[in-house]
Symmetry: C2
Subunit: 523 residues, 2 copies
């Protein structure tokens, strides 16, 4: 059993704090460093950290920290089924969705890998029947659209993954069904989506682990009401993704039900039936399988105890150095790929909900900074927006760039001697160096201090496999950071109070300020 | 002439810094405060700051700061045509797009209000011809879709405004044309949009003030190439929005050109031809006029020197207190309205590009924190994502809530005794109180410290007029904050270095680290 200690009890952590401000990026960044500060990732991706504020001395201390905190040993405990989610007394098994890293994980006499695998197979079988026309609407017409109804982890990850591969699938003649998403309890969300589709040819995927999510149940009834008015039988248009114990399980209101369990956290459920149903319906089982393969390859690199061979671990530790030694309060994700437009929003949940905590895994208050604010938009769009502050603002915000040599569609034009794809990549690399090295100028307004650290994840193309690897990289990075901070990264008690108060508002059981606020909206 | 001084030279600013940590929200927030800490805004909106960490003493100092820094006098100089954008030697006239607040503003013998008004009229005339079928494609078919090609301010604002009113217009039978947007130089962005439309029935609106924006020109040629392959004459499908001196002006490649000038900054151009062309084509001239009316009403409230009667000024000053006295590094915008899904991305540009600066308006380095990181997503979605960190993370992030009593579509269902719209608003008010007051619990993991400040802007419905008022509120807030920090909020020198280096990369004029990075992408 690994030893779980607060970070500030660790010798290496204290050493790390003493190394604040050691590296001046503009003085060290050269061609050799770009070559050397590079770690292969899964699926042909590479993690380059040449423009991070680290050197051999800091890396050695980060290795000591990884060892002293037993980060890889903790990961092994996790994937072999230890109760890592202490607050909720649960295992944490999203790695098992995409391969077996260690021993079998059993629960109540059930082999859980087999359970997850069976769900994938059931989804694949169902999707194949939808695609072939064996399962159709009441008129015998093929379904051509999927609408996923879910919120939080049942929305952000699946939506980001769908958007990431929509163009790839279209290019490769694998876009079997278009997908849309309804998430917000705002009735305008559901209304706008319903107006944009032909409900007669739409399959709705209702996703709620508990089967009790307020927003999702309200949206389900919104959609059912809409279908009824359109003369359609909702039970022939709806599929549920839920846990076996939920009211949505084995329920004749749905064409089929696919299952997850308590060991798959919402924000880590893209590789489960939560992401798998919409992705398999949209792209087919093969593409979803490639996505899982990429994630599994990424997981395998995450068991290496050498930080220079474990990109997720290294990325995590550099992030700890930036957060706790350099004291940077925020970080930004900048994918130079329009298909990754919602990937930052997914990571925003995955990261901030996992590590935005003030107590350790034993429920004791801690005395150091944990998860940073995380935000991002695709480049080059962001360059014309918030990059001004990143370059010349008064705070330093570390950056995480993501880029690919090739586009997904392959359609391009040459303007002024270069393709758009080359321009995209040229912008990316120019930004890395601009942020790191800056530029002095007589006019302080045109002067750039530099010293803005960034990393770069790159690959040839955003394929399903590359996407799986990218996703798992960040999932594992977040997990390792949670281990260092000694957090339970897998609960979310911070969302409970709002839920409780909302119920009270709706029940009219309120007074004081809350009642006065409710009066504003005539509740 | 107002006196321009750095904030830390001001008596009131120093007084403000001494008032750090004065208010404990959970001790003061009660029903009376919710009633009292409220300021009417334009267009029937209200700004409520009961859950901000201010009291009579702090508000008095903020009023002193407003007076000492001559914030309203500076606004008056701005809208009457002073050279407020000192770095670029330009006037700042976006207020003039939507009404005349002071004296006429003349330039080169031209009345600029008349100039802007003429553009609006030209756009309205053109759009009416498109809607009536007087202007059609070569086959005589009506155009039914608009695609705007632009980036940064030519994309984020117009896109956010379009999405904000799309459902409203559909509900009110005013959705005359659907609109889409191409922004990123990533060729997959243009390819995906082109695949989703019928180009034969699409009007393209090319937006670039200079006529030289790299991304926009590349995307223009991408689209022209696509149209040519489809056998279409691009010059019959394209409209330009640009400055009169740009290569796009009076150019036979376009059906029509509409003009802005150097006094309209990109991120403040939603109420100019940049936003006006796509909005008028999409919704008609009436709706765009209502939008401008709301913005103008907002501007009028911003000239009041009493901070309790000037919501933009008050909001700005509370933000200064939070940033400089309380030292909060980030802020978040949380609209409880799915239609405002991209409003935070627009404000992210408007705010971070304006005030993410390290030099004052005279180009001298300053010694205090300026613009914060700004991010956001619509509620209730965000509740299931990053709110965990906002509630229980180790940093405090001030919040800006926005909500409406009524939805735009008016389609709704009752589930468990309440409509979705009521649930949406109940969640919003519950969050305000949860953040402010927290909850103590024996289990620290279920304990909420509270003390998370928020404000609330609310109204009856997100109408065109309300949207205009909301937009102008934030534009003016950003302007006032820039005045306090003594910044030039209207240039963006921080984006130049990346542009210069990109050109060098594409020209192959690089060595060292930059060349090695370029090699990665085979540039």
């Amino acid at each position: 059993m690994a030893n779980w200690e607060n970070a500030d009890k660790l010798v290496a952590y204290k050493k790390m704090l003493s190394l604040k401000g050691l590296v001046s990026l503009k003085d060290v960044l050269d061609a050799n460093r770009v070559k050397e500060f590079s770690v292969p990732m899964a699926a042909g991706l590479t993690y380059n950290y040449a423009a991070k504020e680290v050197n051999a001395q800091i890396l050695a201390v980060l290795q000591e920290l990884a060892d002293e905190a037993e980060l890889v040993a903790k990961f092994k405990e996790l994937f072999e089924g230890a109760i890592i989610n202490t607050g909720e007394n649960r295992k944490v098994l999203h790695h098992l969705l995409r391969g077996q890293l260690g021993a079998d994980v059993m629960f109540d006499g059930k082999n859980l890998r087999t359970f997850y695998k069976t769900q994938q197979e059931n989804i694949a079988t169902f999707a194949a029947k939808v695609h072939s026309g064996e399962i159709t609407n009441a008129k015998g017409e093929k379904f051509d659209t999927v609408v996923q109804i879910g919120i939080g982890g049942s929305d952000l990850g699946p939506r980001a993954m769908y958007l990431a591969l929509e163009s790839y699938a279209r290019k490769n003649n694998s876009l079997k069904m278009n997908s849309k998403f309804i998430s917000n309890v705002d009735p305008d969300d559901a209304a706008a989506v319903m107006q944009s589709i032909n409900p007669a040819k739409t399959l709705f995927v209702l996703v709620s682990k508990s089967g009790t999510t307020q927003e999702t149940l309200a949206n389900e009834l919104f959609v059912k009401d809409y279908l009824k008015k359109a003369g359609l039988d909702a039970s022939k248009h709806m599929v549920a993704v839920t846990s076996e114990s939920s009211p949505l399980a084995n329920n004749p209101s749905y064409l089929a039900s696919f299952y997850i369990d308590d060991f798959i956290g919402g924000r880590f459920s893209s590789t489960s039936a939560v992401g798998g149903t919409v992705m398999t319906l949209s792209f087919g089982a093969d593409i979803f399988a490639q996505f899982l393969e990429g994630a599994n390859e990424s997981d395998k690199t995450a068991v290496n105890s050498d930080i220079r061979k474990n990109p997720a671990l290294l990325d995590a530790l550099i992030g700890i150095y930036e957060r706790n030694a350099q004291c940077y309060p925020a970080t930004t994700i900048l994918p130079y790929s329009q298909s990754l437009s919602r990937f930052p929003a997914h990571l925003q949940q995955a990261d901030m909900e996992s590590n935005g905590k003030h107590v350790n895994r034993f429920g004791e208050k801690i005395n150091y900074a944990t998860g940073p604010v995380l935000f991002g938009e695709p480049g080059t769009n962001g360059q014309h927006s918030f990059y001004q502050l990143l370059h010349q603002g008064t705070d330093i915000v570390p950056l995480q760039f993501i880029g690919f040599s090739d586009s997904q569609f392959g359609e391009d034009v040459v303007v002024d001697g270069s393709t758009s794809q080359k321009k995209l990549c040229a912008n990316l690399v120019a930004q890395i160096v601009a942020f790191a090295c800056g530029k002095s100028d007589e006019n302080p307004n045109k002067s750039f201090a530099g010293g803005r650290p960034s990393s770069l994840i790159y690959g040839k193309q955003l394929t399903p496999k590359a996407l799986g690897a990218l996703l798992a990289h960040f999932e594992n990075k977040i997990m390792f950071q949670g281990f260092v901070w000694n957090l339970n990264s897998f609960d979310q008690e911070g969302v409970q109070l709002g839920k409780v108060l909302t119920k009270k508002v709706l029940a009219g059981q309120i007074d004081g300020a809350l009642k006065e606020y409710a009066n504003i909206f005539d509740i």
